[in-house]
Symmetry: C2
Subunit: 345 residues, 2 copies
């Protein structure tokens, strides 16, 4: 058990020279011990360490930051954290940062507008963070980053583009290809796509991968709809799809840009009397924890979100160490469950 201090001692500021006095050394020696400098006699070191523990001393981060110019803090600019993917990425990031001895300051922006991102980065700079990680897939946001030129390393995570130098991304195209190949392999003539918002780079990349894979396989191009990542937009498109099928259009496979839209889509299809995968096969993207419990369990593309966060931190550390660093990529994986099958005959 960590015994704080004897009895009470609510909040008397405890500084380095208090420790020094107790250990009978100079405050500088304490500093050396705290920072793990080599040239301290073992005896002295342990004496100081004991004093630190007995007193419960914690070095003052502000003072240290002032003199070293580094706050050992990483700023994260993110959005949509109430969605599974972004949240999971943030978790990975926080943990990797913590392990590396950094703490994480978070700004959750709303609109992804150039201004809000710029402002968030600016605040982080003023706050003396050592680096900024921007987690977004929004095109506007990408533009914002291009303009910005912060005095600290800035790395981007999970956006499609490479223009900004160091970037970690999931290879979205590859994910989309996996889906198309799976469905075509099942016998579907083509695959239609319900993508995310147009300004999302992730979404755009998936659209590209979908289109290319279709073209390469010699399949006719499929229909493209745009949603907003939420179930309700999937639901709307589901109604539309059902209407077209009734109108005679042969829609047998839909690839949704994320699991939530896939959910809305499947529900709408059921409501309209269609079966999944009997009439229409549906694939999602993300593999949220609920996906195996949808009706039917959803075939989807798994992305390792926490890995994304971890690599983001790696990239940051590399840049802080002045190392050469390149864009880094994480490969997605297809999980086949029961929402896909052969097309109706």
């Amino acid at each position: 058990m960590s015994t704080d201090t004897t009895g009470s001692a609510p909040a008397r500021p405890l500084v380095m020279s208090d420790v020094a006095a107790r250990a009978g050394v100079s405050h500088q020696t304490v500093s050396r011990v705290v920072n793990g400098h080599p040239n301290v006699a073992p005896v002295t070191r342990s004496r100081v360490q004991r004093a630190i523990e007995e007193l419960g001393y914690r070095p003052n981060a502000a003072a240290r930051a002032l003199v070293t110019g580094s706050s050992r803090t990483i700023g994260l600019v993110t959005m949509n954290v109430n969605q599974y993917g972004p949240a999971q990425t943030m978790i990975g990031l926080e943990q990797a940062a913590r392990v590396a001895g950094y703490s994480l300051s978070v700004a959750i922006v709303e609109g992804a507008g150039v201004e809000s991102i710029a402002e968030a980065v600016d605040r982080f700079v003023a706050q003396s963070v050592d680096a900024v990680v921007v987690h977004t897939a929004d095109l506007e946001a990408v533009a914002a980053l291009g303009v910005l030129d912060p005095p600290v390393p800035l790395v981007a995570v999970q956006m499609g583009g490479e223009e900004l130098g160091p970037t970690v991304t999931v290879v979205q195209e590859a994910g989309a290809r996996l889906v198309v190949d799976h469905l075509l392999g099942l016998g579907h003539t083509t695959v239609h796509h319900l993508s995310g918002p147009e300004h999302s780079m992730e979404s755009r990349r998936r659209v590209e991968g979908w289109r290319d894979a279709l073209a390469e396989a010699g399949a006719p191009p499929g229909e493209l709809w745009h949603g907003d990542w939420w179930p309700s937009s999937g639901h709307e498109v589901g109604i539309e799809v059902a209407a077209r099928i009734r109108g005679g259009q042969p829609i047998t496979a839909v690839f949704a840009g994320n699991d939530q839209m896939a959910l809305g889509l499947m529900v709408a299809l059921h409501e309209q009397g269609l079966s999944v995968p009997g009439d229409v096969s549906v694939v999602g993207f993300d593999d949220v924890p609920e996906a195996p419990y949808f009706s039917p369990p959803l075939t989807t593309v798994q992305q390792d979100f926490s890995e994304l966060g971890r690599r983001g931190v790696q990239l940051v550390l590399a840049r802080l160490a002045g190392q050469h660093c390149e864009a880094d990529q994480v490969q997605p994986r297809l999980l086949v469950r029961r929402s896909t099958g052969a097309p109706p005959r």
Copy 2:
């Protein structure tokens, strides 16, 4: 190909006296302008402000923190942010903090063990945060907080207990009562409950509310199962429930501790050939965005998570201002959808 320095000045540290020199005043006058002190001549003020803008000066937060003893940062200790509720609460918190001029430092702990929480709080203290918000409902965590005595205000959010002074909570019991009354009103004899983990206070409060409401209505006590918040645990219990029904036990209404477990439960029920709400009515808790798209759309209790976060910040600010502050409560609301109905006859 890291494009760090694009043409302009890379990162020459810009300090207050630079601004002072440019504006032809002393650095202290600049400080006064920056901090909005009253006694500065309007002419001087605008001259300084212009100099600040032209130079793009940003005060150094570390130096300011060192001298004022305040970093204008709030530390948030949280967990399970990949779930909708906690994430949403964090969003509310971050926004409220930002509006109040604070930035948010985040620690995501895993196990809710006493140690990890204590360590997180400790790190925040070393980091000179002005206050710590702990967002958890875990009993162990509550114990951890009781032991801790950080030198900064600590407020708890969303835990059932009041023992720790300032706390913001959703009135979980009230939510549970809403559910029980609704189901009893529909004609069910009693209501069974699939709760969250035993060490969760939220969960415990819901159990109490459920039990009390049942007792007060003179209904026989229902069965109690424990899950882990995730769909898979709901699924397991669903299989169990189906087995009991087949065995003759009259289970007609189950109240799940959250929406995800309700989802798993309903899926298992369907798999076992039972209808929701035809054979069994199911109610969730939280109102995640997917809930209206479950099959059937889920009757659930809506909690205003972001409000929780916002009030957490209010509480923090009040304490920092030395104001008297009390425990604060947010009322939940029942959303009736299609997963509940009259019991089978």
